[in-house]
Symmetry: C2
C-alpha cells in the first residue's frame, strides 16, 4: 500500500465556524450553557418551533396524494410565489408588474452563494462589497472567496447604544460608485423621510447594487409588514436589487435550509433573463433544491387557518421575549443604574474587570425579581 498521499499538501483547517457548538455538544458538564445560538430559544432551552409547523408536518406525512419527484431547478413554484407575497405584500407594485421573482435555494447561505456567483459573472465592474449591519455577518466570506474585496460597517453606536442613521448615511456616502451594498438587519435604525430620500438619492446616483438579507421576517417586531418595510420602499423607488429571504428561523425549521434568492428587476423581460442565468448556476450547485421545508411553509402560507396560527405564534414568541426583557431592562436601569437599550443589545466591550461582578449580580437579581410577583422586591443597591 502506498504511503504517499495525493492530499499531502492539504493542511487542516483549524478554526471552523461552528466549532464552538461542537465543543459545547461534546462537553459533559451538566450545567453547560451555550450563548451563541442565532435563533429564538424557548424557556426550556430549545430552539423555538412554531406549533403549526408540527401540524403541517403530520398532515404532509399522511397525505397519499403527494409525490416525491425532483423539484425543478428553480424550486417549488407555489412556495416561491407565497414567499414573495409574504415578503412584499400581495398587492406589491413589483408583483403586480411581474418584475419580481426568485430561485428556491438551500438556505440563506445558498441564496448568497447563488447571488454572488451571478454578480461575479454579470456585474463585472463591481468587485467591492460593503456590508452594513448591526452585527458581523457571515456572508462576507462568500464574497471574499469569489474575489470580492469586502468592507464591513457596523451602524451600532456604542455610546448611544442604538443604530445611528448618521453612521449609515456617512457610510453610504463613502461607498464608491457601482459597488454592491449588503444591507442586513437595520430595522431598528429609524430614518426620517428626508434621511430616506438622501439614502435613496446616493444609491441611485452612484448605481449601488443593494443585496438585502432578510433572515427572520416577523421575528423583529412580530409585524410581518413592518419587518420588510425597507424592501417596499426600495421597490416603490424602482430600484433593482437582490434579497436573500430565509424562512428557517421564522417557522422554526432550522434543519431544512429553506431560502429564496429574490430578484427585483425594472421589468419582466430583464427578470426572466436574470432568473434563467441563476437557474444555470443553481444546476451546478445542487440541481434540485430540497422539498420538505418548502412544502411545510407553503402548506401554512396558503391555508388561511394555518397562516393565522403561524402569525399568532410569531406574536407570542416576540411578545414574550419583549415583555421579559422590558421588565428586566427596566429593573436594571431603575434599580441598579445599569443602562441597557430596550432591545437589550449590550455592547460587551463596555463590560470590564471592574464592573463585571456588579453587572452579573444585577442581571441575576433582575431575572429573579421579574420571574413572578410572588417574589418580594429585593432591597435597592447602589453601586
Amino acid at each position: 500500500m502506498p504511503t504517499l498521499s495525493m492530499f499531502m499538501d492539504v493542511p487542516l483547517v483549524h478554526k471552523l465556524e461552528g466549532s464552538l457548538l461542537k465543543a459545547y455538544k461534546q462537553d459533559d458538564y451538566p450545567n453547560k450553557i451555550f450563548l451563541a445560538y442565532k435563533v429564538c430559544m424557548t424557556n426550556e432551552g430549545h430552539p423555538w418551533v412554531s406549533l403549526v409547523v408540527q401540524k403541517a408536518r403530520l398532515q404532509i406525512s399522511q397525505d397519499p396524494s403527494l409525490n416525491y419527484e425532483y423539484l425543478p431547478t428553480v424550486g417549488m413554484k407555489s412556495f416561491i410565489q407565497a414567499s414573495l407575497e409574504l415578503l412584499f405584500g400581495k398587492h406589491s407594485q413589483a408583483i403586480v408588474e411581474n418584475r419580481v421573482g426568485g430561485v428556491h435555494t438551500v438556505g440563506d447561505s445558498g441564496a448568497f452563494q447563488l447571488g454572488v456567483q451571478f454578480l461575479r459573472a454579470w456585474h463585472k465592474d463591481a468587485r467591492t462589497v460593503y456590508i452594513i449591519s448591526s452585527q458581523k455577518e457571515l456572508h462576507g466570506l462568500i464574497f471574499q472567496d469569489m474575489g470580492f474585496t469586502v468592507y464591513e460597517y457596523s451602524i451600532w453606536d456604542p455610546k448611544k447604544l442604538c443604530m445611528d442613521p448618521n453612521i449609515l448615511l456617512n457610510a453610504v456616502e463613502q461607498i464608491p460608485r457601482g459597488c454592491v451594498l449588503v444591507i442586513g438587519n437595520i430595522i431598528d435604525c429609524k430614518l426620517t423621510p428626508s434621511e430616506w430620500a438622501k439614502l435613496m438619492s446616493m444609491i441611485k446616483s452612484k448605481q449601488i447594487f443593494p443585496f438585502f438579507d432578510i433572515p427572520c421576517q416577523g421575528l423583529y417586531t412580530s409585524d410581518l409588514e413592518e419587518d420588510t418595510r425597507i424592501l417596499q420602499y426600495f421597490v416603490s423607488q424602482g430600484v433593482e436589487f437582490f434579497c436573500s429571504q430565509s424562512l428557517s428561523k421564522n417557522f422554526g425549521i432550522y434543519d431544512e435550509g429553506v431560502g429564496i434568492l429574490v430578484v427585483v428587476a425594472v421589468n419582466n423581460q430583464q427578470l426572466l433573463c436574470v432568473l434563467s442565468q441563476l437557474m444555470r448556476l443553481a444546476q451546478a450547485l445542487w440541481l434540485n433544491p430540497p422539498n420538505t421545508g418548502a412544502r411545510i411553509i407553503t402548506s401554512i402560507l396558503c391555508n388561511p387557518a394555518l397562516l393565522g396560527e403561524w402569525k399568532q405564534s410569531l406574536k407570542e414568541v416576540v411578545e414574550k421575549a419583549t415583555l421579559t426583557k422590558e421588565k428586566q431592562v427596566e429593573y436594571l436601569v431603575r434599580k441598579k443604574h445599569i443602562y441597557i437599550p430596550r432591545n437589550s443589545q449590550i455592547n460587551f466591550s463596555c463590560v470590564n474587570a471592574n464592573n463585571i461582578h456588579y453587572i452579573t449580580e444585577s442581571i441575576n437579581e433582575a431575572v429573579l425579581f421579574t420571574e413572578g410577583s410572588e417574589k418580594c422586591l429585593p432591597k435597592e443597591t447602589n453601586p
Copy 2:
C-alpha cells in the same frame, strides 16, 4: 422610475436542462408520454418509492423527541456513518483503518460541486478531466464551469451492444498523467482479473485521481455489495479517491437531495485535513445540509426490520423490471428477429426510417404477449 436596468447585458439562457420535463408537464394532451425520466418508474407511471420510506416518514413526523436544529456543516453524523457502511460494507478495510469519511451534500450535484471546488484548490496540476460512463453525464458541466477541460468516453460498443473492457482500457491508456478520472456506472463492464490489474497499474503509475459516481446503489443488480464492488477493489489497492454517493434514487426520495461526498485517503490524518477543507467550502455553499432525507434514510439503515424491508423492495423493483424486460427481449429476438442486449439498452441510431415501423410494432406485440398468459401467442412474423 428608471428604465435603464443594471441587468441590461444579461442574456436569456435558452436551453435549460429540464425544459423537456417542463414542456411535458405543461402539455394538456391526455396521452402524453415522458421517456426521459432518469429514475425507476412504476407501472402506474410514477417514480418508484420504497414503501418503507413512507413508514419511516410517518414515524418521524410523530416523534416528539426529535429536534429540528441546524445540522452541522459536515451533515448528520449517523447518516454519513450508516451510508459509508452501506457503500463499503461494515467491515471494510478503509472503515476499520479510519481513513474513509464523507461530507453530507445536497444531492449528487452538490457532491460534485464540492469535490470539484476542492480539486480546483488543492489538486492544481490536474486541469483535465476524463469522464468514463455508459451514457452522457451532467457532471462534466460542473468541471467545465470551474475551468477544467473535459473529455468524455463512452465505453458502449454499438456493434456488440455491450460495454467493452477494451474500450475502457484503451481510454485509460490514453489519459495523461495526474488528471482526474470520473467513473460512472460501469457495472456491466465485465473485466477479467488481469484486465483489472492492468487498469489499476495504469491508474497508479500515472497518478490518476478517480472520482466515482454511485447514483443508485442497489438498483443495478439489487445486490448492494455487487453494485459497489469496484469501490471495494480500489480500497483494497490503497488508492485514494472521491465518490459521489446519492441516496435519492434507491430510496425513492427524489426531492430531498440526499448525497455524500465520500473521501478515501491513505490514512486518518490526511482524511481529516481533506474533510476540514471540504467543510470550509460547504460553509459557503449551503452552510447546513437539509435534514429530512438523511433522517429518513438513517432511520431505515439503522433499524434491522426496516433495513430488511428496504432491501426486499429493491429486489422487487429490480426483479420486476428485469423479468418484464427479459421476457420481452427474448420474444423480440426469438420471434421477431430483433436483437437487443439483455439490459435492453438500445442504440437508437440503429433505428431508421426503413425499420422503425417494424420495430415499434414488434415491441408492441412483445409487450402484449408478455403481459399475461391468458393472451394467446400471436402468429410468427418474418421481416
